[in-house]
Amino acid sequence: MTDVITPPLGGTGILGPPVVEVAEYYGHEEHGPTGLLRWLTSTDHKVIGKSYLITSVILMLIGGLFALVIRLQLASPNSSLVSFAQYNELFTMHGTLMIFLFVGPFAFGGLANYIVPLQVGAPDMAFPRLNALSYWLYLTGSMTMMMGFLVAGGAASFGWVGYAPLSNATNSPGLGGDLWIMALILTGFSAIFTGVNLVGTIFYLRAPGLTMFRMPIFTWNMLVTAILILIAFPVLTAALVMLFCDRHFGTHIYSVQGGGSPVLWQNLFWFFGHPEVYILALPFFGIVTEIIPVFSRKPVFGYKGMVFATLSIAALSTGVWAHHMFTTGVVLLPFFSLLSLLISVPTGIKFFNWIGTMWRGQIHYSTAMLMAIGFLITFLFGGITGVMLASPPIDFFTHDTYFVVAHFHSVVMALVMAAMAGIYYWYPKMTGRMLREDLGKVQFWLLFVGTQVCFMPQYLVGLHGMPRRIAQYTTVPSWQTLNDVSTVGAFIIGASFLVLVINAFQSWRKPVLAGDNPWDAHTLEWFTTSPPPHHNYSHLPPIRSERPTWDYHHPDAPALHPHGEAHPSDGAEKVLGSS
């Protein structure tokens, strides 16, 4: 049976202001198959979200193992741990798995799927069956990608960017490349469907009173991410179809011999690729913007500034694609350099607001908060070197060196820390159980120290001229020391994820129950039970600010201004002292 939404019933809460019983329509008992068939047929956003999270974390662990093999290979100048061909496959698949199959799907497939309907007070995503289809396309796309290792000729080995003419049928023959293309077409459609679903959910299924400027920043960021997905992914899919035609059907879209242009591939790929960087980053900006106010016991500082910064980052990010192509010599350097440099302004506003939120707050250093602070520091390194690389003279000098590798790994490792922050923050909501804080802190320090030990030497070795994607550096053995330090760092990062696995195992064997709102958090998802019931809510609180759950649990706390900012007469101390 489908669940038809009928009018809610009025009622009065016991604790504070009136709440409204909505059990009649949100709290339907789940009915349908059980066991494996339940998983295969589920259209519940929570089940799909958890499937996404688990699948993407498994793929991250696989991609991480590839990285460790790469670092072992580079630990000595002429190591023969893997062959050159295997090395090419490893760095290609490491990049592909992490970018396409972990960071993105973890955020907009997993966390957003689980959290956004809860944060807007919706019973499910707008199109539940489309949502399920997204997950199946993602899962089969991931399987198609991993199949590359099983076929003759091995997996794709032309780098995660698949540059023409290296990726054509002459230079990269074999099934591996075809499977890479087909996998990305599947996961691309999966992302597009999820984007449509998120926009539909946020536009149409918000609870009454939850205006756009009362939405949690995480939901705002997911809306902007969804729009970016709709801008970027169709371009990638089209580019991949044309690449496949070049490989098999005799077209010459990317080959000079037939009148095509290899730079067209770079234009198309990076028109997708740079928004993709922000498709990866914006959800994690949203996660830390949820966590920092909760653990600083303050409302987020500069709510509207955060929203407009997100919108401007997204808009600018779509006009900067050719800063990856400065050295091709056929792009408009001033245009792309200027727009790239401009991105630092809204990002700076975000940093200012994050620090402003913590300023004079009662900071509680939980694991989630530590991970969020680790994100701020590491992302700052990645961001500042990004500003440097946006300048063409520096880019010409450092292009395709380990300096660039270190830059984007600082960025994505910051995102991984934010992902861990999100796991520690929302795990109690998803499972009803806490993760252990002591193990969490061990994981944080291993991850944070490991990241800096791994990637700081890469900045230096890049400035010394070490190119990326080389398996041996026999002619310049002086690079070995820095590479060895980097390898040690990589294994520290690896160890930190073992701690996460142990922590999850502990919560499974020795559960510590979390309760509905273990962090005394602000947003709507903490109002319902942990884990939430089928169709999410049996009650809804009145929504009068961007912190409905906080308002409900702290009726005597100074009210926020109706427009979502602290009322000028309240004073910061009163807001802070209310806990």
Binding site: L37, P123, M212
Partner: protein, 130 residues
């Protein structure tokens, strides 16, 4: 609906301007086409939402003083469980494998996808799940 529409129309305006600047400074056709496409991606749904906003005014979720009772009425219909997304996904999987491994994969792909499309349509018409 108004802010939703303005967000999308903002996309259209921004990429309209950037697209024009880009064309007249670089005369590069690939990038210009993509920027114009992005402009249209904001323009079409944005103007549609603005039109709906003019027609129906503020919904309860657009008003800052709305109560939960104001949202009374049928919100949406949600399928409880359905096998067809899985079947359609497996069909798409077979379809891409056909491009990689051989034409014979087309037959299960087409069978699965047509079955799933019929199934999902029938399911919606009946208003139930299978």
């Amino acid at each position: 609906m108004k802010i939703e529409a303005l967000v999308l129309l903002g996309v259209a305006v921004f990429f309209g301007i950037v697209g024009a600047v880009y064309w007249f400074t670089s005369y590069e056709d690939g990038g210009t086409m993509m920027l114009v496409g992005t402009c249209l991606l904001g323009l079409l749904p944005g103007s549609y939402y603005l039109w709906w906003h003019r027609r129906m005014g503020d919904r309860p979720e657009d008003r800052s003083d709305a109560t939960v009772e104001d949202g009374a009425g049928q919100v949406a219909t949600f399928p409880n469980s359905s096998i067809w997304p899985f079947v359609l996904g497996m069909g798409a999987f077979s379809l891409v494998l056909a491009f990689a491994f051989g034409i014979w994969f087309f037959f299960p792909a087409l069978a699965l996808m047509i079955t799933a499309l019929i199934g999902v349509t029938a399911e919606s018409r009946r208003g139930g799940h299978v």
